[in-house]
Symmetry: C2
Subunit: 119 residues, 2 copies
């Protein structure tokens, strides 16, 4: 188990939104405006930056239609799809275990004057 590889992956897509955008693209969102609306908590500025980074690493490919009302479509490349499947494991894990996680957190929170928690 080489932790360096974990570090590398995190450096690539360990920010707040990259994995989510990859998931949304996999779900069929293609247009910039689609992503903008299906992930409301993500600001347009950050969406643009995130897509650019994903393009740079070859996860996402962009097609621009230079029409009068500009339109762009982003899609996962083969490389992006390969990463998607690893991300899906994380999502599946959460789906399977989030209830248990919440139970653990409650237990911990009710147990003592611990101090460090988070949301």
């Amino acid at each position: 188990m080489d932790t360096d590889f974990i570090r590398e992956t995190l450096d690539l897509v360990g920010d707040k939104w990259s994995m989510l955008v990859i998931g949304a693209l996999a779900n069929g969102d293609a247009r910039y405006s689609d992503l903008d609306t299906t992930i409301p908590a993500l600001s347009r500025r950050t969406l643009t930056l995130t897509l650019k980074r994903l393009q740079r690493s070859g996860f996402v490919e962009r097609t621009s239609y230079p029409e009068v009302a500009p339109r762009v479509e982003d899609s996962l490349t083969a490389l992006g799809t390969s990463l998607l499947s690893a991300i899906q494991h994380l999502a599946a894990w959460s789906s399977d275990h989030h209830t248990e996680v919440r139970r653990q957190q409650d237990r911990y929170d009710r147990s003592a004057p611990h101090s460090t928690r988070r949301a």
Copy 2:
């Protein structure tokens, strides 16, 4: 593909160090000082905070030996181990594809006056 589950996982262990610490624990590091030395870039302050969060969600279990020179040992719980396997997929992905990623980044960087890159 429910992106909410991605979000949840990231909220749990999407910070800079959690997954790495889980990986290190899986590698047999147990003592606080082991972790401190095998992940030199991680400050002791943050190590403490990270371990506490991992304990709160039930990923890590702690045993303290109240000896004259205090000693603590942390280990992955069953829950933590279940998450580890999802993390291993990420690491495996990186191991398989990091070369290709670098090639893509180089190509991108040499191709244009793009502006947003990172490390």
